[in-house]
Amino acid sequence: MQNEHAANEANYLKYQGKYKGLFAWIFSTDHKRIGLLYLYSIMSMFFIGVLLGLAMKFELLAPGKTIMDAQTYNATFTVHGVIMIFMVVVPGLPAIFGNFLLPIMIGAKDVAFPKLNLLSWWLYMIGVFLVIAALLFGNGAPDTGWTFYAPYSFKTGTNLLPAIFGAFVLGFSSILTGLNFLVTIHRMRCPGLTWSKLPLFVWTLYGTAWIQLLATPVVGITLVLVALERFFGIGVFDPALGGDPILYQHLFWIYSHPAVYIMILPAMGAISEIIPTFSQKQIFGYKAIIASTMAIAFVGYLVWGHHMFTAGMSGTAQYYFSLLTFIVAIPSAIKVFNWISTMYKGAINVQTPLYWGASFIFVFMIGGLSGLVLGSLATDVHVHDTAFVVAHFHYIVFGGVGFAFFAAIHYWFPKIYGRMYQKSWANTGWLVFFIGFLALYSPMFYLGMAGMPRRYYDYLDEFHSGNILSTFGSWIMVTGLVIIVVNLVRSARKGKPAEMDPWHSKTLEWTVPSPPPLENFDDIPVIAEDDGPYNYK
């Protein structure tokens, strides 16, 4: 075991600091431990969100009341949305893998502001507790939907304030993480690691951090205004006092649409690491992927209005938003093209992360293309607020971010825990999950087209068969999820020890031991002129 002088060589899971036990984790400023703190807390929230989702699907197994009444259903989808958006997918990849990997990938010992990084996690936990408090105490869980639309959000009798305040605190946590990453990327790259040699995951974190920084404050102030509206009746969103509820929607989506890109950009970054590694080939169009990342970040900031096509906006604004929505699809398509071209004629090594990566591309394309149906004005009127929309954003948000998350956790698992996962169970889990996912969400496209509205606990008989299939799908998917999680938890403790670079990858995190030592590098690495993150033979 470690003795005193070897303390610094101990890996980050084991070293002994000033505190012991749990405190050695929750007061640690080590970016890797903070990454794992996020992993555990985000996964816990994810499981709660999944259970709520299962409950909703169970309610929809048959028309009429199955297990809950309308009010409970409203609260369930609200809480499901708030948890999944604000606590799982928005912080998901940046906070977990960004924290763990960013400093190692750029050859640094930690992020620029380690204490601020720990504060971000604490803020995250405070936000979580506030939202949980909103559910358990007061006049019942919020029932507004995760969008908190005015004027209902300041009229509802449910316990909305703690939830809003929680979302505000979570936003603050997200901002500080973004700020930390931006400074880290600007100031702490190791010698020789120029901007054009950064791994693509780092580039996507960079784009994401800018959106976190520039979009989150807008929703922050909007939520403050809703709270003040509830307290004092300042009138800004209250039509009775001259306020305009549509302005609330504008402000809300100025954040919440870019938030979709906060979720999806790091997911794309993770896929951009995985595909070249398992193809053992230079990524196709490195610069094009960077350019498309920044284009998505920028244009994605300006398309919020496509959530409001039926809200009563002016026609001019509708044309504009529709046009830009089509434009923002282009850089996403460029990425898909690049990933597939990378695999073409590569030395494909079929491993679990590649299964997840390839299925990511598949579901992301379906999600993206169905987005165009919603982005064009005429068809949006038909499917707006139907199950079609639910199917679309679950294909993007869950199919995109979720699949990329599982790809990433399997890919970096050996680095994080220093052990290999059990391969056959991991593959089985993926297959079951993938089938369940398709069965769960695909029928909703059809149901939405046929006119089944979202956010209703009841439906007409003609939608029955589609809903049965969807509910069965949810059970299959959760079975897959259980297999995956059990396998990972078991492997983290009992898996066979991992090598330094099990996938023969070229990025910097694979040049340090698995798991990495406390400060990552004994000597800060120097990148030579002809080195690169994807220089495969």
């Binding site: 700020l179 807008v218 009746g233 800004v236």
Partner: protein, 206 residues
């Protein structure tokens, strides 16, 4: 944790702190930016009511507060120079002046709001809801929210300045490690910057 203390000693990077502060300022700008969007929309929808309501505000107090903030901005900017010239006493004196001006600003604000309250004008008050038009209600709603949020930022700025002054007094912030004072200055200028826009939008456009 000793290892962490170790990391921080190796790693004093004034430029990193500066960028960090700028990035934080960007979030503050967009926080107020959201409010400016709300203001612009309602001003566009209710031009006459906004004119009328702005007549209620006291331009003189607004102008005095503007000049106060501008002067305090200069004094804190000067303090970054005096610190570089290694004049600790002058630096602390300039920070003291800045703090006092900040407090005077808040006192002015207190009296200004007090007059409104004594006229029965506050968010959601009977008088406001019954005797004013919708545009005026919006104007005063925004007036209280925006100047209130700004005053909150003045208080935060003052706290940062006091911390910086204490650290200068102790010597842990000095000409070689000036980042905290520079950042306190940047934050204070941000507060000034926002007021530069609040003042004409609420007090002058009558």
């Amino acid at each position: 944790m000793e290892q962490n203390a170790h990391i921080e000693h190796d790693h004093y990077d004034a430029e990193a702190s500066k960028i960090g502060m700028w990035l934080f300022i960007f979030t503050e700008l967009l926080l107020f930016g959201g409010l400016f969007v709300v203001y612009s929309v309602y001003r566009y929808v209710n031009p006459d009511a906004f004119h009328l309501a702005a007549e209620e505000l006291n331009t003189t107090i607004g102008a005095v507060n503007t000049i106060l903030l501008l002067v305090s901005s200069m004094t804190i900017a000067m303090s970054t120079s005096t610190l570089q010239y290694k004049k600790k006493g002058a630096t602390l004196a300039l920070l003291a002046i800045t703090t006092i001006i900040g407090i005077v600003f808040l006192v002015n604000k207190y009296f200004e709001w007090g007059v409104k309250f004594s006229h029965g004008i506050w968010p959601g008050s009977e008088h406001l809801l019954n005797d004013f038009s919708q545009g005026e209600i919006l104007f005063f709603g925004l007036y209280f929210v925006m100047t209130g949020l700004h005053a909150l930022h003045i208080i935060i700025g003052l706290v940062i300045i006091l911390v910086a002054a204490y650290r200068i007094h102790k010597g842990t912030v000095n000409e070689n490690r000036a980042a905290l004072l520079e950042n306190a200055g940047l934050y204070w200028h941000l507060v000034d910057l926002i007021w530069i826009f609040l003042f004409p939008l609420f007090y002058l456009l009558t």
